[in-house]
Symmetry: C2
Subunit: 311 residues, 2 copies
């Protein structure tokens, strides 16, 4: 039950109605791995600069995340992102993006990372995702994330990569853009035709939906009155989802198992937004996760009681 | 188990990628009542012009809907709406709105309509909704719909009306606008503070959520590859929801019953969009409704299997 994630490691500056924070530990691989660390042995592959120090490593290692494959570039600076969320946190403005060491990132996987049972390709250039995928031959379940930029400028490469993974995890708008298909069910089915056996549509405040050849499943977002910082929610979601799969090494990822995985993903994503950066997940407990999953099951269930219908 | 709905009766001209149809039977009270007719004796209160003839009455009466309180205005023309949907049917353009006889509508309820067990105030001016509400003293469950126009220009009147009903059924954007609160959970709770015991948030392609003092519940929209005409989906949804409540005259509308009602509403809304205007609901059968509700239960359920989580 080992899990490898390849993606960005960042410092984020985030401004919301709840306040402003500089130099938060962030990046897709960070949010993902802290979430997945509750389920499985997780290894992070990604680049950092010299400004990434013991304090940051300690956050990951504090959750048992293996950091051996975090590449510290001499003289480099860590990927930096700054953004502002409006009062309606669904509206986000990017203020600054400095790729820094992420610009020339070429993933280098140790033997341990290559031996992963489960692999997550976070949002990086799709050629790189493919190169990593090919190095992890033993992986029994693989997934990728992407973004509008790659759908625009590397469409063919992204489709080639999609053909090599078991699962695609994208925002619903990205799925529609990728397939030029405004109907989400059709968009998901088009992606399935490229090879994956599962498509997960992240829907932000509305939750998430999952499509396989035989199955459709959807969950609302866990209802929260206070969303402090949405940054990384999708990555924590993916971390919970993939982590749950990784935690079942002897079980085929059946549709039933993937449904449960989606619930754990939903819950990890919901915790992630309750504080700035990684703060909430850092102090999260297994008990809180289990309680919220049980709660999610309760709030999505109805027991049909057929009624006499009039012809 | 009698249900009264007060609202618009219309002719619609609709253009979608699937084609163009003129003079479709439409209006909120029509879509609502055809849906609710599967569950309960339904009476429609609303105005039509002389252009509304036996053929239109026959559609309603064919489903057993009582049309005695449809007021035919001499020399008048029926409310007319024309609209166009983009390839992405979530984008709609209103091309023409002729209020016609709806402009001076003053609801007149017969004794039978006033005696309703369940009352739905479709989207009309909130002063009129309040006047109708006061006439139906016997109603044990009442709900209203509204729109951005009334939230803008009759905000106080709408809140006064909301204080008099058991349930508010609005789009999530309207709930946020009504309360000036971008977080939907907070918006719904603010509406509950005005008096209703239930708030239903319609979320279009994402489904619907329901809020009570004690409960939260959400369902995805039923997944469809072909959405032919979304017009009236929200009204058919409300018709299924209120109809299910009306079909249980001896049962308090508990949270569990309202969850089931939301499932029936979701299913009626999903059928409504499968053809132009009222065409799909006209040929709908009780068996199809029951099957789709069972399907909805199946596709929203996960059975939690706790996993050892790492502290």
């Amino acid at each position: 039950m080992s899990l490898t994630v390849v993606g960005s490691i960042a410092f984020d500056s985030v401004e919301t109605q709840q306040g402003k924070r500089d130099r938060l530990l962030g990046g897709s691989a960070v949010h993902f791995s802290l979430a997945s660390s509750f389920f499985a042995d997780t290894r992070v592959v990604g680049p950092v600069g010299e400004d990434f120090g013991p304090e940051e490593f300690a956050v990951l290692e504090g959750r048992g995340v293996h950091t051996d494959d975090i590449e510290r570039i001499p003289g480099g600076k860590t990927f930096f992102w700054a953004g502002r969320y409006e009062r309606d946190v669904n509206n986000r403005h990017t203020l600054q993006t400095d790729l820094n060491v992420f610009q020339d990132f070429e993933p280098k996987l140790s033997e341990a990372s290559r031996a992963a049972d489960v692999l997550f390709l976070a949002n990086i250039q799709p050629d790189l995702q493919r190169a990593v995928r090919r190095q992890c031959e033993a992986a029994r379940f693989t997934a990728l994330d992407s973004m509008n930029l790659w759908i625009d400028i590397a469409h063919g490469s992204l489709l080639d990569t999609i053909a090599l993974v078991d699962c695609v995890i994208l925002n619903d708008g990205e799925l529609k853009q990728l397939t030029n298909e405004p109907n989400l069910l059709r968009a998901a089915r088009k992606v399935l035709e490229h090879g994956p056996r599962v498509v997960v549509a992240k829907q932000g405040e509305y939750g998430a939906a999952m499509y396989t050849a035989e199955d459709f499943f959807a969950l609302p977002a866990y209802p929260l009155e206070d969303v402090v910082d949405p940054t990384g929610a999708g990555d924590a979601f993916a971390g919970g989802f993939m982590g749950y799969v990784a935690a079942h090494p002897d079980e085929e990822p059946s549709d039933a198992l993937l449904r449960r995985a989606l619930a754990y993903g939903t819950v990890l994503g919901s915790f992630n937004v309750e504080a700035f950066g990684t703060e909430r997940i850092q102090r999260l407990t297994p008990e809180e996760i289990s309680e919220r999953v049980a709660d999610l099951s309760r709030i999505t269930r109805f027991d049909d009681a057929p009624v006499p219908l009039r012809a």
